[in-house]
C-alpha cells in the first residue's frame, strides 16, 4: 500500500463513514469542507504520527496543510526526507 492508500484507509476506518470508498478522492477537501471536525483533526494527527512514525511540531499543525489526502501525503513525504 502506498502512502495515499494508507492515509485513505485511516480516514475510512476511523473518521469518515461512506458506503463506497471511491467517494473519498485524493483531492477531496477534508477540513474546509466540514467533513472532519476540529476534534477529529487532533485524533487524525495522532494516528498519522503513529502510523508513519513521524512527529509534527506544534507550529507545523496548520489545518490548511491537512486539507486533503494529497496534502497530508506531501507533509509525510517532507517529514520522511
Amino acid at each position: 500500500m502506498d502512502n495515499k492508500e494508507q492515509i485513505k484507509q485511516i480516514l475510512l476506518d476511523g473518521f469518515i463513514e461512506v458506503e463506497n470508498g471511491n467517494e473519498l478522492e485524493n483531492d477531496t477537501p477534508l477540513i474546509s469542507s466540514g467533513i472532519l471536525d476540529s476534534i477529529s483533526i487532533l485524533q487524525l494527527i495522532d494516528t498519522l504520527e503513529k502510523t508513519f512514525e513521524i512527529g509534527f511540531e506544534a507550529h507545523e499543525i496548520d489545518r490548511d496543510k491537512f486539507d486533503s489526502i494529497d496534502l497530508i501525503n506531501q507533509l509525510i513525504v517532507d517529514k520522511k526526507q
Binding site: 461512506v18 469542507s33 471536525d37 476534534i39 506544534a58
Partner: protein, 454 residues
Amino acid sequence: MFFETINKHITPNNSDIAIYDSELNSYTYTQLYDEINQIEKLYKTQNIQKGNLVILNFDKSFVGLAHLLCCLKMGVIYIPIDNNTPKNRLDKIIASSKANAIINNDFSIRFLNSAPNYMDNEACCVLYTSGSSGTPKGVVTSKKGLASFINWSSKEFKITPKDILTNYAPFHFDLSTFDVFAGLKNGASTWLIDNKLSSNFRLLGEHIKELNPTVWYATPTVYNLIKQYGNLNQINQPRLALFAGEVYNTKELNSLRNIWNNTTFYNLYGPTETNVCTYYKLPKKIEDRTTNYPIGIACPYSKILVTNSDELLISGETLMLSYLNEPSLTKEKIITTNGKKWFKSGDIVELKNDLIYYKARNDRMIKKNGYRIELFEIENELSNHPDINQVACIFKNNKIIAFYSGNKCSNITLKIYSNNQLIKYMIPDDFFHLTELPVNSNGKIDYAQLIQYL
C-alpha cells in the same frame, strides 16, 4: 454607560500590558487607548453613530478588540459573529438584525442600511445564537446587565493587575465578556486566542507554558482537550479555573483537578439570555463522587425560581432586553409575574439543600462540546437540499445524527452541503437514509423510534 465601568486603566499613560495576541505579541493600555481613538475618528468620518448596529465579522486580534471597545465607547451596538459564518447564514443575520454596517476581516466597512435604527438606549451588544424557529436569534444584552456581571465577577474572583486572563471563547459567546471586560476593568492582561490557535492544542500548550495565565474560563470540552494535548504537567497551574456551557463529567473534572491541584474551580451557569446567573465554588478537597456538581446558588444580581414542572426561571439585572426584532419570541420566553420579568430557561433543575442541580432540557436544544444548538435549525437548512424530502435530527453519545427521506445521497455530499449552510459545529456527524421517517399517532416525527435505528 458600560464603557465607564471598564475604561479606568485605558489611559494615555499606562504602560502595563492590556492584551496579548495569539502570537504572544503584547500591547499596553496606552496602545489600546490610542487604537480606540484612531478607530473612533474613522467611524466618525464614515458617519457611524451612537445607536447604530454594526456587525463585527472578524477573527480575534488586538485591532479587532479595539473596534469592539470603540463601539462601546461611542454607544454603537455591536454584533460579533464568527468570521467563518457561511454566506447564507450571514445574509439571514444581516436581514433579521437590520444592521447599519458590517466590518470585515480586513477591517473594511460595508454599509448595509442607512435607515436609522431605533434601538433601546440600554442596549450594549447583540449575541446571535441558534434559533428554534430555524433561523438564528439575536440576544440583546444590556449595559447595566453587563456592568452588574463584571462588577460582581471582578470581586468574587479577585482580579488584580497581576492576573493574565485567557480569552478562549470567541467574542460572540457570552463567556468572552468576562475575560475581556473583567481583565480591562481591573488593569490585568488578557490573552486573545484566535480561531487558528484555539484548535491547535499543542501550540496552545506551548504558549501557556510561556505566558503562565492565571485565570481560565472555558467549557469542559476545552479543558479536556488542553489536558489531553497541552502537556499540562509541564506548565504552571492557574490560580482560577472557571467552567460553564455544559455539564462537566465529575470523573473528567477530577482528573484535571489532580493535575491542577492548587487551582480553585468554579462552575458557572447561565444561558446567553441572562449571562452568568448562578455559581458554585468547588470544595478544595477533591471529593470521591460520581454525580455532577451543582450549578450552585444565584448571583447577587439574579433571582431564580423553580416552577412546578421543575423549569428554572431567571430574573434580575443581567436579563436580556429582548430577542432583536422578534417581539413575539421575546413575549414567549420572557414572562411577567408579580411585576417581575422572568426568562424561561428551558432547563430542568432540582433543588437540594439550597443548591441548584441541572438535570435536563425541556425542549430539543442540545449542547455539543459546549455549543448551543437547536436541532430544528439543522433540520430546516437540510430540508432545503433538492434531494431531501424530510429530515429529523437526534443527538446521542455527543453525535448529531440526521435521518432523511428522499433520494439517497453520499455522506460526503451532505457534509459539504451542510458546511455551506450551517456553522461548523452544527454539521451532523452522520447521515442515515430512510424510505420514510417514522411518525407517531399524531402524525409527528417519532424521534424515540429513530434512536432504535442506531
